[in-house]
Structures are given as structure tokens and as C-alpha cells.
């Protein structure tokens, strides 16, 4: 399975449930397209739920960074939710864990955008 992205709206926050593999090719381009689509619709509060991400490579990490800078440069916020150990470890060794705002509880994450 590659990646599956499901978008839902919670108040003014757009939550993207990401499942599967974010790797070079279909996975990373799907994430890139989704973020660009949200930015084009002027959605400025974006929460990426990575709880069901089974695998992410350096290309996928690059897409998370790209999404973060795209949304931030547009005056918005992109935050991460539910990192599994593998993704958390990768963000830590690449020193990106402190770049992103990471949450473990969805309700708290939604409130943090207020």
C-alpha cells in the first residue's frame, strides 16, 4: 500500500489523516499535492495526523519540511499529530523534532491553533 490521505474539517482546522508509506514517488507527491491544495484554498490551520504512517524515507521527511515551510510562509501553521516511534526517531536524529510542533492528543492539538 502506498499512501492514503483523508481530509476532514474540525472547526477551522483541517485535519489530514495520513496512512501508509510516505516514500519517493506516489507517497511523497500525494502529500505535496494535498498541502498545495489546502494552501490554495487559503486553509491556514493544518494538522497532519501521522498515526497510521508505516514508513517514511528521506523524501517523505523532505515533503514534511516542504509542507511546513509552504504553510508557514503563507502565514499559516502546520502541526503534526500522533507520531509513531519510527517517525519520531527519524525526526529526532534529523533534528527536525523541535522544528515541528508535535501533539499526541487531537483535541489538544485542535485547541492549540486557537
Amino acid at each position: 500500500m502506498s499512501v492514503k490521505l483523508t481530509t476532514r474539517q474540525v472547526g477551522d482546522v483541517t485535519v489530514v489523516d495520513v496512512a501508509g508509506r510516505i516514500t519517493l514517488g506516489e507517497g511523497s507527491s500525494a502529500l505535496r499535492d494535498a498541502v498545495r491544495d489546502m494552501v490554495s484554498k487559503n486553509q491556514k490551520k493544518i494538522l497532519l495526523n501521522l498515526g497510521d504512517v508505516s514508513y517514511i524515507d528521506s523524501s517523505g521527511i523532505g515533503e514534511l519540511v516542504s509542507g511546513f515551510t509552504t504553510v508557514t510562509n503563507g502565514g499559516g501553521n502546520l502541526k503534526l499529530l500522533n507520531l509513531n516511534k519510527r517517525v519520531k526517531d527519524l525526526l529526532q536524529i534529523t533534528k527536525l523534532y523541535t522544528v515541528f510542533e508535535v501533539h499526541e492528543d487531537e483535541a489538544a492539538a485542535i485547541r492549540s491553533f486557537a
Binding site: 516514500t23 523532505g62 534529523t94
Partner: protein, 146 residues
């Protein structure tokens, strides 16, 4: 990792097309061999990811997806070491030009983390220029008990 010294040595060498499907195949092949060599789950993930990153470099940056260029992929498990060699037929590159992805000015770059991750996940990682012009990388994971 235990009892690796009792396992039979296994070696595989294949020529792969310069496609993303080959990246998946190489990762699958290496992880399967590593599993048979007694590698634990955490190191299986590390080997798989290091192989994936190396194959992406060979296919995308080395051979630039050329239908006329192959990637030579070999894996050997001998009880003490799990060794992967990947050689492309590209034009090579200056190893000193690889930026440090942890430098503050590079943290928000969208690429350039592959080799850093490979070094992080393997016990040894070497790169060399081939006389034919391509690049060969050697990835080693020690199988002896830690």
C-alpha cells in the same frame, strides 16, 4: 541478535533497472536476507531504510532513471557481517560536496538527508568512484552479538 554464526552464508547479486520498482525490490530482497541471517526487527528497519536510500541515490541521482543503465546490487551475509553493495553507472559526484543536513542553515532543506540516514543506520558506510565513472557504496551491519 543471537546465534548468527551458525547460519549458512548467503550471497545474492542482481542487475536492476533504474526504476523506483527496483528500489522496492532491492529493499525487499535485503530485508528478507537480513531476516534469515537473524537480524532483529529494529535493525531490519535500519537496513531496509539504508538500502532504500542508497538505491534511490543510484537510480535517481546516479543513473537518472536511464533505461540504458543498470544498478548492480549485491548482498552477502556471512554470520559476522551483513554487507550490501550498490553500484550505479552514473557520472559520479564529489563526495565532499555533500552538505551537513544537521547544520542550522540546512535544517529546512527538503533534500540531502539520505546519506546521513544511511550512516546513522549502518555500522560502516563507504563510497568509492568506479573506473567506469559510476559510484559504488558499501553498507555493513555487524551481526555479532552486541
Amino acid at each position: 541478535m543471537q546465534e548468527n554464526a551458525n547460519r549458512a552464508p548467503e550471497t545474492v547479486e542482481v542487475l536492476l533497472d533504474s526504476t523506483l520498482e527496483s528500489v522496492d525490490s532491492a529493499e525487499e530482497l535485503a530485508v528478507g536476507m537480513a531476516e534469515r541471517a537473524g537480524v532483529d526487527e529494529d535493525d531490519l528497519m535500519k537496513i531496509g531504510m539504508a538500502v532504500r536510500e542508497s538505491m534511490v541515490n543510484a537510480v535517481v541521482h546516479g543513473n537518472r532513471y536511464s533505461a540504458h543503465k543498470k544498478v548492480r546490487f549485491s548482498v552477502a551475509a556471512n554470520g559476522e557481517r551483513f554487507t550490501v553493495q550498490i553500484a550505479d553507472a552514473g557520472e559520479g559526484f564529489d563526495f565532499a560536496s555533500i552538505p551537513d543536513p544537521l547544520a542550522p542553515e540546512n535544517l529546512l532543506r527538503t533534500s540531502g538527508r539520505g546519506i546521513f540516514l544511511i550512516r546513522s543506520f549502518m555500522d560502516d558506510f563507504q563510497m568509492r568512484h568506479l573506473e567506469s565513472g559510476g559510484t559504488e557504496v558499501t553498507l555493513v551491519k555487524n551481526l555479532v552479538s552486541k
